[in-house]
């Protein structure tokens, strides 16, 4: 009996085998082991990831404590994010990229997957929160070759209608292909024509450009951009956000996913729950041959798991 519970407690506190913690298990064990200090004492002696024998006590390990804080706070974080105004969320995520060194891929995600009005809202919220414009901070902090692309992406106010000029789309597909051929693969992110097309054209127009690219040159533009991850991501975000978001979710569940990757799961689920979570579920099933709800149920715990399932529009496991 004690061993089962010890196992359950170990699982709950180890931070392994999934994200979040199983709050209900912990609460029931606390109840079961009341007035039985020998159980908790023997647990401490056996669980040497969290406790190490120092002097006459089993001391708590600081590193593991930090890890536990993260796992316990996934539910906290997702709830606060969920309650926030969507524009404030986007502005804060953008600010973290700029000032806390979070990956630039988040900035590309926000700038390319939001609608023109949502991006404008995020820019307004950014000004309210941080007393600078978003583009001025990006331009000032990003000093490398990514700068042109990133500043262009956050400044865009793309036309949202369906009207597309197919001749222009064809010629721009050719222009991108030429730019790829003549530039070395690592300079392509600074190419004026490529940046102009990707950061100013409307999304329907760009979808047409990508389609003509495949027709004219036999390969998908993303394949040809495999040398530059950020550009590749930009194209994917603009062409098929549901596939992009599925990839972000999947990275969170893989072995050895880092903190940024696991946070991506919360970010995507909260920001897309009211937008296109159904399309994301479809794309995920196509890409990975598994239902998103099943993967969430298997790989996350407790209230965190339940809130993810709710955000995905699924009944709780």
């Amino acid at each position: 009996m004690a061993t089962d519970e010890q196992l359950a407690l170990t699982r709950a506190l180890s931070g392994d085998g999934g994200l979040g913690v199983e709050e209900s298990t912990l609460v029931s064990i606390i109840g079961k082991w009341r007035k039985k200090p020998e159980h908790i004492s023997s647990f401490r002696k056996s669980f040497n990831r969290l406790f190490s024998i120092t002097g006459h006590i089993e001391k708590c390990e600081d590193d593991h404590m930090q890890k536990l804080v993260i796992e316990f706070s996934r539910f906290h974080q997702i709830t606060v994010l969920w309650a926030m105004h969507p524009h404030e969320r986007d502005a804060r995520w953008a600010n973290q990229v700029i000032h806390k060194n979070h990956p630039s891929s988040i900035l590309v995600e926000i700038a390319s997957t939001r609608s023109a009005e949502e991006l404008l809202g995020a820019r307004k919220a950014y000004q309210t929160l941080f007393h600078h414009s978003l583009e001025e901070d990006v331009a000032y902090q990003v000093k490398d070759s990514k700068s042109k692309l990133l500043v262009g992406l956050v400044s865009a106010y793309r036309y949202e209608g369906q009207k597309v000029d197919n001749d222009v789309a064809k010629s721009e597909a050719k222009a991108i292909h030429n730019a790829l051929k003549t530039a070395g693969a690592n300079k392509i992110i600074e190419n004026d024509e490529v940046v102009r097309i990707l950061t100013t054209r409307s999304k329907p127009h760009l979808k047409a450009v990508f389609k003509y690219y495949k027709e004219l040159h036999g390969k998908y533009l993303e394949e040809d951009l495999s040398g530059d991850a950020l550009l590749q991501q930009t194209v994917l975000c603009l062409d098929s956000p549901a596939s992009y978001f599925s990839q972000v979710i999947n990275s969170a569940f893989k072995e050895g996913a880092n903190h940024a990757e696991t946070e991506g799961l919360s970010r995507v689920m909260v920001s897309r729950s009211d937008v296109d979570i159904e399309e994301i579920k479809e794309a995920y099933a196509k890409l990975y041959g598994a239902k998103l709800a099943d993967v969430i149920s298997k790989k996350t715990h407790g209230y965190f798991r339940d809130s993810l399932l709710s955000l995905a529009g699924e009944a709780r496991a």
């Binding site: 820019r123 000004q127 583009e135 500043v151 793309r158 100013t200």
Partner: protein
């Protein structure tokens, strides 16, 4: 301060629409009546008139105007009657389609309007032309001009008064470095001019003057024929001293042989509800001639009467 004068009791939009319709009917057109109504209504009143006219007569007021009047007079009346955001969108589209390096309309719109107004222009552009302003500017301009104009029209500057003096000093240094190297379209120079708030920019330019002994613009005069340098100077003047900038546009339009009617119309119709009074004062200070008199001397007919009405004379 605006120069627009609106009567103390304004007729209802229905009465105005009926009067305008009368002005169009029959042989010929009653231009004086058109001016007496439209040149004395503010933006929201003009919008109501357009809505009412369309409802009563099943035709757009702007179309009737286009059918009935012509030339510089028509251009002035139509630009004036439009909402400020639509007007700027039309001027921007015109500038982009007939792109010439000396064209200032895009710079004026991007630098002298507020952030909110500039964004309204971008929205109006979507509605009118089914493309974004920045995509058209990017597709029709090249080289240094594209590097400057695309970020300029895409900017959504912070509008607060906060100034970081340390930053102003360091960015003044960067500006000085780049122009000493004649790297006028260097990305740092462009970044500073196109993203910083107006308050921050003015502080930076003041620091430039303090630190290096002469104003930023004075250092951009190495080649009088260089249109890009002239564009940079225009951008700086538009956000730091718009009245003097527009007074100069008017002066250049009027002086010399012939008149640049497009530029004159642009200044008067876009500023009549903003700061045309201050522009008149700046014009007087610089030329010792009142702007109304200069306009009257250089233009004629209904076009002249329309401009004079907007000048508050």
């Amino acid at each position: 301060m605006a120069t627009l004068t609106v009567p103390a009791t304004v007729p209802s939009p229905t009465e105005d629409s009926e009067q305008l319709r009368k002005a169009f009917e029959g042989w010929g057109t009653n231009e004086a009546l058109i001016i007496s109504i439209l040149a004395h209504r503010n933006a929201s009143q003009r919008r109501l008139i357009r809505e009412t006219y369309a409802r009563i007569y099943g035709e757009m007021l702007l179309k009737s105007l286009n059918d009935e009047i012509s030339g510089d007079f028509e251009r002035a009346v139509i630009l004036w009657t439009l909402d400020p955001a639509e007007r700027d969108a039309m001027l921007a589209n015109e500038a982009v389609r007939n792109w010439k390096q000396g064209n200032r309309a895009l710079i004026e719109i991007a630098c002298s309007r507020t952030s909110t107004e500039l964004f309204a222009v971008r929205q109006a552009y979507h509605a009118l032309f089914k493309r974004s302003l920045e995509e058209d500017v990017a597709a029709h301009t090249t080289g240094s001009f594209r590097k400057l104009l695309v970020p300029l029209v895409s900017s959504y500057r912070y509008e607060g008064p906060e100034v970081n003096m340390k930053l102003a000093k360091s960015e003044a240094k960067i500006l000085h470095e780049k122009i000493s190297d004649k790297a006028y379209d260097h990305e740092d120079l462009i970044r500073i001019l196109t993203t910083r708030s107006k308050a921050q920019l003015i502080a930076t330019l003041n620091q430039f003057n303090n630190e290096f002994g002469s104003a930023f613009n004075k250092n951009l005069k190495s080649d009088p024929k260089d249109e890009f340098l002239a564009s940079l100077r225009a951008a700086v003047r538009c956000f730091s001293c718009p009245e003097r900038y527009f007074a100069k546009v008017a002066r250049v339009a009027i002086e010399g042989l012939g008149t640049d009617e497009n530029a004159l119309t642009r200044v008067i119709t876009t500023r009549a509800e903003v700061d045309l009074q201050l522009i008149k004062e700046a014009y007087m200070k610089r030329t010792s001639v009142p702007l109304d008199r200069a306009v009257a001397g250089d233009t004629s007919g209904d076009y002249e009467r329309m401009l004079i009405a907007l000048l508050g004379a």
